[in-house]
């Protein structure tokens, strides 16, 4: 488990675009489960009554970023890394989550080629699966 302060040591994201709150389970470099809480005073609820699907993708990508970043930090705590969202494939939304819900974000590396990582990514509210598919992250170590 990883609290938010530790997530901020790995991800460069900050308010208003840090879209995960806690890491519940992690196997660095392999897979992880993150948590995103939805509450009424978040900026996107001004225009929407639900969590916008593009931001749900971002939340999943950020969990992927932590999974890869934690591995890089294990190997070399000084390393500078850059992770970027590289793509989505075959991603299906069953429904959109709403305020008051807690989203569990489950990602697992299923393929990697050079600096591109393909994840299976799923979102759950309680036991209900609300979205799933594949996302791609590019993740590169920058010198030193």
């Amino acid at each position: 488990m990883m609290e938010n302060r530790e997530i901020q040591e790995i991800l460069p994201h900050r308010y208003p675009f840090l879209l995960i709150d806690r890491i519940l389970e992690i196997e660095p470099g392999k897979k992880g489960v993150g948590l995103k809480n939805l509450t009424g005073d978040e900026w996107f609820f001004k225009d929407h009554s639900f969590y916008p699907p593009n931001l749900l993708l971002e939340s999943l990508a950020q969990v992927g970023g932590v999974v890869l970043g934690a591995k890089a930090r294990e190997e070399n705590p000084q390393a500078t890394v850059q992770g970027l969202f590289a793509g989505v494939s075959d991603f299906q939304f069953q429904r959109y989550p709403v305020m008051g819900e807690q989203i569990r974000l489950k990602v697992e590396v299923i393929q990697s080629l050079a600096s591109i990582y393909k994840f299976s990514a799923e979102a759950f509210v309680g036991e209900e699966k609300i979205a799933g598919g594949q996302i791609l992250l590019s993740f590169a170590r920058i010198a030193p």
């Binding site: 308010y15 709150d21 005073d41 900026w43």
Partner: protein, 130 residues
């Protein structure tokens, strides 16, 4: 500071819930790199829960209530992103123009804060009584 009402007994008590996420306006400054929910926001959640109870119990929109006094407020553990806050607020006594409440904020069944507070009531519509 409230996302859902879980349960309510009109004129008695209410149970509400608030999800805590890092994506809230008060957390970047409290504190940079170390987000902790400000204690006053937890108090705000208890007060807002009491306001919901008052409005639902005594004809919606006809009474206005404001926080008059915080008699006691205790924080027992920090609240951080990922936590789910449950507010349990109980009306303990009723005067002519004041309502007394006992409130609790819990995270996973553990008490994070407790408060005793008073709301001042004013009647917005003539001829309406509590």
């Amino acid at each position: 500071m409230i996302d859902r009402v879980l349960e309510m007994e009109k004129g008695q008590r209410v149970r509400t819930v608030k999800n805590v996420t890092v994506n809230e306006f008060f957390l970047p400054g409290h504190f940079p790199g170390e987000p902790i929910v400000p204690g006053v926001m937890t108090l705000e959640g208890m007060v807002q829960s009491a306001l919901v109870l008052v409005n639902e119990s005594y004809s919606r929109g006809k009474v206005a209530s404001t926080l008059e006094k915080v008699a006691r407020l205790k924080f027992k553990r920090p609240v951080v992103p990922g936590d789910q806050l449950e507010f349990q607020v109980q009306l303990t006594s009723r005067g002519d123009h004041a309502l007394k409440f006992k409130g609790k904020a819990l995270v996973g069944g553990e008490t994070a804060a407790e408060a005793d507070f008073i709301l001042k009531i004013s009647i917005r519509e003539v001829g309406f009584e509590l």
